[in-house]
Symmetry: C2
Subunit: 300 residues, 2 copies
C-alpha cells in the first residue's frame, strides 16, 4: 500500500504542477529535494511571482524511522516505527477575486519493533479560502467534493464537509478560515471498508482537485480589482497566517518535531497586512464574506 | 500595592503616548476603552500610519474575578480569585533602519475564597528587534537596561538579560527574535526583597524605557532606505509574527482565554512578507544581523 500510494502522489504532484504552470504562463515551479536525517525526505516544489500565482507550493514527502517521542504521546503509543507519506499544496493567487486553495492527502503506517504492521490509515482533504465570495464558485467546488464522496458512501460528503468546517476554524476570531470542502483523518480498514477501499476513496478525492479548483482560478484570475480590494485580500491572508500558526495541527507538529521549516511554512502568503480593529463597511462585499464565514453554509 | 501599581502604569501610558506623538508629529493614538464581562477592562491606545510609527499600541488593563480554569492549570492552583494589571506596548516604525520595540510591566495577585491575599508578584521587561544592526543602538539600549538593574541588585542585569535571550527565541528558526533586553517574571517578596522593593525595581525599568528607546528612534527614523531594505524589514517582521503566534505565552494565553482579540493582536506588524527560503547575500548587512541573532551577544 505504501508504494501504491507514494506512486500515486508522485504522479499527482506532476499532474498538478504541469496544470498550474500552464495556467500561470510565466512562472515555473522550482524543486528542492531534501533528506530527513532520521530517514526519508521530500520534494518541495514552489512557484513565486507568477502572473496568476503569487506564491504556491506542492510538496510530497515520505519519511520513516522510530516514531518521535512527541508523536508517541500524540498517538498514545509506545516505541514503534512508522512510515508516513503525503502531498500538501497551497496556492495563493495574485488576484483577490481568485480564492486560495489548500489540499493534503496522506498515508500513515505503524510497526512494532519486529517490523509487523500494527496500524495504517489515510487522511486529507481540500478546502477553499475566498477573499470575495462568488456563490457559484463555492457551489462548484463543493459539487466536485460531493461527487468524489458519493462514489464511495452516501454519508461521506456530509460527514467530511462537517469535519472540514470544524477543523478550519479560527476559534479566536469566531469565524471559519474559508468556505470549507472536505477533511478526514484516521480512515482505517474496518467491517465496511478494506484499506484498498480507503485508498480508492482518497485517490478519488485527489483526482477531483484540478476539476474542483482550476475552472474557478481561470474564471477569476484576470478580473479587474482595486487597491482597496487587494488590501482586503492581504488583511484576510492575515487570518490564514493566524490559523496556520495558532491552530493547524500539521504546521505546529512539523515545527515541534523540527521538520524542514521552509517546506512547512511555504503555506504562508507572500504579502500580508494587519490593521487594528479593521471592519468592512456594512453590507459591502467584504462584510458579506465575513457573514458567511461566521455561519458555515450548505453549498450543494 | 495594586492601586499603587495601576496608578503608575496609567501615568506611564500617558507619558509614553505623549512622547511618541511628539516624535511622530503626524499621527495620534486612538483610545478604545473596553470591559471584560467577568470583571475589569482596559484602555487600548493604537497609532497607525504615522510619519515615524507605522503601527503601535500602548495598552493598559486591570482585570479581576475567578481565576479561569486554564489559568488554574497553568499556575497549578485550585479555585481562587485574582487581580492582574499591566502595560503592554509594541512600536513598529516605518523606517527599516529603526528597530521595533516591545515592553511589558505587570502585577498579579491571588486570593483564597475568603478574600485573603495568598500570592503576589511582578513580571515584565523590554526588548529590541532591529532590522539593520547598529551596534551603538544595541549598546545604548542595553546600557539603560543595566543602569535600571544595577540600582537594585548586581546580578539583575546579567540574570534578566539571559532570561530575555532565552524567552524571545524562535526555536523553530534557531534564532533570537531580536537583540534582547530584559525579561523577568514571578518577582515575589522574599528574604532579600519586600514587595515594595519589587515595585521599585519594576517601576525603575518602566521609567527607563523612553531613555532607552527614543534616542534610537530619533536617530534612525529619517535615514534613507531602499525598496529592498524595506522588503527585508517586512520579511523579518514575518519572524515577529511567527514568534508572537507560535511561542509567545502572553499572546496564546490571551487567545485561549478569549481576551480582547484586537488588543492582543495589535502587536502584529502592519505589512509583512513571507518568501520561500529567502537567504540574504553572504556578508551583507542582512546576513550580519542573522549572525548576531543566531548567537546572542553581550552588549555592555
Amino acid at each position: 500500500m505504501k508504494n501504491q500510494f507514494y506512486s500515486y502522489i508522485q504522479n499527482l504532484q506532476n499532474q498538478i504542477t504541469q496544470a498550474l504552470e500552464e495556467i500561470d504562463g510565466k512562472a515555473k515551479f522550482k524543486e528542492d529535494v531534501w533528506e530527513r536525517p532520521e530517514g526519508g525526505g521530500g520534494h518541495t516544489r514552489v512557484i513565486e511571482n507568477g502572473d496568476t500565482i503569487e506564491k504556491g507550493g506542492i510538496n510530497i514527502s515520505a519519511v520513516h524511522g522510530n516514531l518521535p517521542k512527541s508523536m508517541q504521546t500524540y498517538f498514545k503509543v509506545g516505541e514503534v516505527d512508522f512510515f508516513a507519506c503525503g502531498l500538501s499544496l497551497v496556492i495563493h493567487p495574485k488576484n483577490p477575486m481568485a480564492p486560495t486553495v489548500h489540499a493534503n492527502w496522506r498515508y500513515f503506517e505503524m510497526y512494532d519493533k519486529s517490523g509487523k504492521l500494527i496500524d495504517q490509515w489515510f487522511g486529507g482533504g481540500l478546502d477553499l479560502t475566498p477573499y470575495y465570495l462568488f456563490e457559484e464558485d463555492a457551489t462548484h467546488f463543493h459539487q466536485h467534493c460531493k461527487k468524489a464522496c458519493d462514489l464511495h458512501h452516501a454519508d461521506f460528503y456530509k460527514d467530511f464537509k462537517a469535519q472540514c468546517d470544524l477543523y478550519f476554524y479560527n476559534a479566536h476570531r469566531d469565524e471559519a478560515r474559508g468556505i470549507g470542502g472536505l477533511f478526514f483523518d484516521y480512515l482505517k480498514a474496518n467491517d465496511s471498508f478494506s484499506i484498498q477501499d480507503r485508498y480508492d476513496f482518497v485517490s478519488q478525492v485527489g483526482n477531483v482537485f484540478l476539476d474542483a479548483y482550476l475552472p474557478i482560478l481561470i474564471k477569476r484570475k484576470d478580473l479587474h480589482y482595486t487597491k482597496s480590494q487587494r488590501d482586503w485580500q492581504e488583511i484576510r491572508r492575515g487570518r490564514y497566517v493566524e490559523f496556520n500558526l495558532i491552530h493547524d495541527k500539521g504546521t505546529l507538529f512539523g515545527l515541534k518535531t523540527k521538520g524542514r521549516i521552509e517546506s512547512i511554512l511555504m503555506s504562508l502568503p507572500p504579502h500580508v497586512q494587519w490593521h487594528y480593529d479593521f471592519e468592512p463597511e456594512q453590507a459591502s462585499q467584504e462584510a458579506l464574506l465575513i457573514e458567511v464565514l461566521k455561519k458555515p453554509k450548505e453549498w450543494v
